[in-house]
């Protein structure tokens, strides 16, 4: 047998470490450099800004430490934005998941016309949030929309003016957002359902489990990864929510439907509070990373094993 202790491995110098060997890295380099600068460099830039006294333009001559963050969390508009984000994201995630799962399970019952229904549930995902916003803005408008329709059908006392009411306006945004995304969640769940091993189900049927029990005890628990994916995608969309709010209410009435993304935009470019705007962006990033980073880590880490 080989005696491995006597010969220490010596490195073989490759005489042909030529262009061909470097080429892959050269090809990747521009993209990586761009990502480094435009994503990570810019994050650092914004982080610096958030500690500066920048107003209209970036200004690195005055440093305010955590001043911008203190002002941010004492600002009623930011508090409103956070509250709205909480309401919006909880309802958005829960309702989308519920509708998505229910539709997926129903569609999975050998439904005639599934091929016809599925695209209908999913098409809103192809639309711009601005288009969705326009459609729902006018449909929920008391003057011409749903309220008007009900009243013209003879239900004189019908009233639905949430979009004009500071307390309720955020819920109309939830309605539109759920409309746009729930079909997508349905598609995720449906793919998950179809991926369940048929033999497990057959085994359960032989064990005498009812359809309901099979779903409740076997299939839905098996879909945990899908729930997780749906949660991550929806939470990430919720924190970024901007377009839909702009199109439906532009933050109104008053500041009732401000979200963190809207706050960032309005303070940075509308109110010349660049320092606070940067601080709000950093907070948004931290929120997203708390959700995304562990998820990506587990997904990528799990793959490597």
């Amino acid at each position: 047998m080989a005696d491995i202790t006597t010969t220490a491995p010596r490195a073989v110098t490759n005489p042909r470490a030529t262009l061909q060997d470097l080429l892959p890295k050269l090809v990747l380099a521009p993209s990586f450099a761009v990502i480094l600068i435009f994503v990570y460099g810019f994050i650092i830039f914004t982080a610096f800004l958030s500690f500066s006294g920048s107003k209209l333009l970036p200004d690195f001559s005055t440093w305010v430490g955590f001043g911008n963050y203190v002002r941010l969390f004492n600002h009623p508009n930011w508090i409103t934005a956070l509250k709205n984000l909480a309401i919006f994201s909880v309802l958005y995630i829960v309702v989308c998941s519920f509708i998505g799962l229910a539709l997926a399970i129903f569609l999975d019952q050998k439904i005639r016309g599934e091929g016809f229904l599925r695209p209908i549930y999913l098409y809103p995902m192809a639309l711009s949030f601005i288009v969705t916003g326009v459609a729902w803005k006018w449909f929920l408008d008391p003057g011409i929309g749903l309220e008007h329709v009900m009243q013209s059908w003879g239900w004189e006392s019908f009233s639905f003016r949430w979009i004009k009411e500071g307390q309720m306006a955020i819920y109309t945004i939830v309605i539109a957002a759920v409309w746009q995304s729930s079909g997508f969640v349905m598609a995720m769940f449906l793919a998950g359902l179809r991926g369940v091993d048929n033999e497990i189900i057959k085994a359960a049927q032989i064990d005498g489990a009812s359809t309901l029990t099979i779903y409740r005890r076997i299939i839905i628990p098996l879909m945990r990864p899908v729930f997780l994916s749906a949660f991550v995608v929806l939470a990430h969309l919720a924190i970024k929510s901007y377009d839909l709010v702009v199109a439906m209410t532009d933050g109104g009435p008053g500041t009732a439907t401000w979200t963190p993304a809207l706050f960032m935009q309005k303070f940075t470019f509308g109110r010349n509070e660049m320092g606070m705007g940067a601080a709000s962006a950093i907070i948004m990033m931290m929120m997203i990373f708390t959700i995304i980073v562990p998820y990506l880590y587990s997904e990528l880490g799990g793959k490597k094993k």
């Binding site: 061909q20 080429l23 892959p24 090809v27 993209s31 761009v34 990502i35 435009f38 994503v39 990570y40 810019f42 994050i43 830039f45 914004t46 229910a102 999975d108 019952q109 050998k110 229904l117 995902m125 192809a126 711009s128 601005i130 288009v131 916003g133 326009v134 459609a135 803005k137 449909f139 003057g143 011409i144 929309g145 008007h148 329709v149 409309w179 997508f184 793919a191 359902l193 179809r194 369940v196 048929n198 049927q205 359809t211 779903y215 994916s229 995608v233 924190i239 702009v246 993304a261 960032m264 470019f269 705007g277 709000s280 962006a281 948004m284 997203i288 995304i292 997904e299 793959k303 490597k304």
Partner: protein, 293 residues
């Protein structure tokens, strides 16, 4: 999709099945309602919307709102309709999609078939870039565009969209090429094919589906973008989504709902057509974007 778990649906009672169908159809109505409202009311005169019923079919059919939305509606200070902005969007989307898809394909190729030390860190950083809230790059991006003289130009928007789309395009191609047999690359190496020859002759011919998925994904995202468009566009480079929002939310003048609806459909039409023509690939893109790694 295979019908793997459909065996669960053994023998539901007729009553249960009726309920399932009713629920499914009600939801179909819910999803179709806004589209119906938009279409129907874009074909009505304005008076009919204000006096009548949003859900009713037009009594007097007209395409005037469409013509107005396309070419004469007041947007900002100009009565030019959405047409120039539609063109802006096209000019922005096509190169941005082409650049980001091409680079994504090359990146995916390198990251799977020419692995090197630290490649997973590079990929991880590109992947994380997909999820940053773009608010965090708005201020420095505006600075860079200003410094390079690209502020307010379509070129600037193309650049921004291409860069921030790179993460996703790389992800798509990487996951696709990961499953592409490495032995084929090795066989081609033994046959003497170079780095680019392998890409062009071996990988690209097999990349049809993922190219379609990526192009659709990028097209949909960039066409529908509002944040970058509203932040970085200038007088001559405003994309359609921003113009539509200006049209609908302008505080002056009479609210021409029918024109708004026609405009909204115009803005939605390209992505809707893509969805109808290639829905399968659209869904695959969504899934690939959702289930990472």
């Amino acid at each position: 999709m295979s019908a793997a778990s459909q065996d669960v649906a053994t023998r539901n009672s007729i009553f249960a099945r009726a309920i399932i169908y009713v629920v499914l159809i009600l939801f179909a109505i819910y999803y179709l309602l806004p589209l119906y409202v938009m279409v129907v009311n874009s074909l009505k005169p304005l008076d009919e919307i204000r006096q009548g019923n949003m859900l009713a079919l037009p009594q007097q059919w007209t395409i005037a709102p469409w013509l107005s939305a396309w070419s004469t509606a007041q947007i900002g200070v100009q009565p030019v309709g959405l047409k120039p902005y539609f063109i802006n969007s096209m000019l922005m989307v096509v190169p941005a999609v082409a650049i980001s898809t091409m680079l994504g394909a090359l990146n995916g190729y390198v990251l799977t078939k020419w692995r090197f030390k630290g490649d997973s860190i590079v990929f991880g950083m590109m992947l994380l870039a997909c999820f940053i809230p773009f608010q965090i790059v708005l201020i420095p991006s505006a600075r860079i565009l200003g410094l390079t003289g690209l502020a307010g130009t379509i070129t600037g928007l193309v650049l921004i969209h291409a860069i921030y789309g790179l993460g996703f395009t790389t992800l798509f191609f990487r996951n696709y090429y990961e499953a592409f047999p490495t032995e084929l690359i090795r066989a081609a190496q033994i046959d003497g094919a170079s780095f680019f020859q392998i890409f062009r002759r071996i990988l690209l011919p097999s990349s049809g589906p993922i190219i379609v998925v990526t192009v659709i994904w990028q097209f949909t995202n960039i066409w529908n973008d509002f944040l970058f468009g509203s932040s970085f566009s200038g007088f001559n480079s405003i994309p359609l989504t921003v113009a539509l929002n200006n049209l609908v939310n302008s505080s002056t003048g009479v609210k021409e709902y029918n024109v708004h609806f026609a405009g909204a459909i115009l803005a939605a039409l390209p992505t809707l057509i893509v969805y109808i023509v290639s829905g399968r690939y659209f869904v695959r893109g969504l899934m690939a974007g959702a289930v990472k790694g």
